[in-house]
């Protein structure tokens, strides 16, 4: 019997060419990262169970899930609003463990859908991140409108994406994107093209520390 091994592959394994691209040679205006090894579960409250779902989430994560377009960061996961009565729980990949824990917590009060492989996670940062994003994202990302913790479900190049803003260690804006896996090759090319005139630093990181 042959050996069966199960390597994972990134949907960006062709599109993502690690390194410095585009204009200039110094610090890139835009830093683009694929975030690999993610776990992602869509949590949809059942009819009449919004409060119970929030309570259960609070118990599990220590924070209430957002009820408006926001992202809340807890110790073990980030909870991102993704529509009425639903949110995405985003965490480092841990085999089946994360999903199993959620299934246990929300049994009977919320429906879950595992999206760990259904979405591709990206980080966009750098001094020209917003200029590049203005080319493919119709959201107003101004500091006063889309501060740290703001989130949105929006359309990028005619496909759905979740966007939320966090900050890096230096406090600079990081725009987090979740896009459908099958679109990620196409969107990566588009985002990279948008960034080339500002200089692009492309790479990937793992969600698992």
């Amino acid at each position: 019997m042959p050996d069966f091994t199960w390597e994972t592959q990134s949907p960006l394994r062709k599109a993502l060419v690690v390194g410095r691209h585009g204009a200039g040679t110094g610090a890139a205006g835009v830093t683009l990262r694929e975030v690999r090894d993610i776990a992602l579960v869509q949590v949809m409250a059942r009819r009449g169970q919004a409060a119970a779902t929030a309570k259960a989430a609070k118990k599990l994560f220590g924070v209430e899930p957002p009820t408006s377009p926001k992202a809340v960061t807890a110790k073990t996961a980030t909870l991102i609003w993704s529509g009425a009565d639903q949110f995405l729980a985003f965490a480092p990949h841990s085999g089946d463990e994360f999903y199993a824990k959620l299934a246990d917590t929300f049994a009977g009060i919320a429906s879950l859908s595992d999206q760990s492989d259904g979405r591709c996670a990206l980080h966009i940062s750098g001094p020209r991140a917003r200029d590049a994003m203005a080319k493919f994202c119709a959201l107003d990302l101004h500091d006063t409108v889309f501060p740290v913790g703001a989130a949105a479900s929006t359309a990028i190049d005619h496909t759905n994406a979740s966007v939320w803003r966090s900050a890096d260690e230096a406090g600079e804006a990081v725009y987090n994107l979740l896009v459908f896996t099958s679109f990620s090759d196409s969107l990566w090319h588009m985002i990279a093209d948008a960034a080339l005139e500002y200089g692009l630093d492309a790479g990937h990181v793992s969600a698992v520390q």
């Binding site: 059942r46 009449g48 377009p69 009425a84 009565d85 929006t154 359309a155 759905n160």
Partner: protein
């Protein structure tokens, strides 16, 4: 044009798709309905096909498919394209609505 989704806030109109008049109510007929077949067919026919061609304010279904995937009911002026209000369809946000109602 931007449309104010009650859940997401103002968004570019390209995120939304339009279905049409929100006033016709879908008739429900069970398979053993006591109504006559002609009566049933007329009612459903009207629901499927009969639409007023309104020049002015109209209640319409819009779908925020490029955003939160909620079905919305918008009051829009078909002449000026002005949106007077946008509210959620009854089942958008059912977890909350259900809770309040039950």
């Amino acid at each position: 044009m931007r449309i104010a989704c009650p859940f997401c806030g103002e968004r570019d109109s390209s995120e939304f798709s339009y279905l049409g008049d929100a006033s016709p109510k879908r008739p429900n007929f069970a398979v053993d309905s006591p109504n006559s077949p002609a009566e049933i067919e007329d009612a459903v026919f009207d629901y499927v096909y009969l639409r007023a061609n309104v020049a002015g304010d109209m209640r319409e279904y819009w779908y925020h498919g490029g955003g939160c995937r909620s079905w919305l009911i918008a009051e829009r002026n078909t002449v000026t394209h002005e949106f007077k209000s946008v509210t959620a369809a009854p089942g958008a946000g059912a977890a909350l609505a259900g809770q309040a109602g039950e």
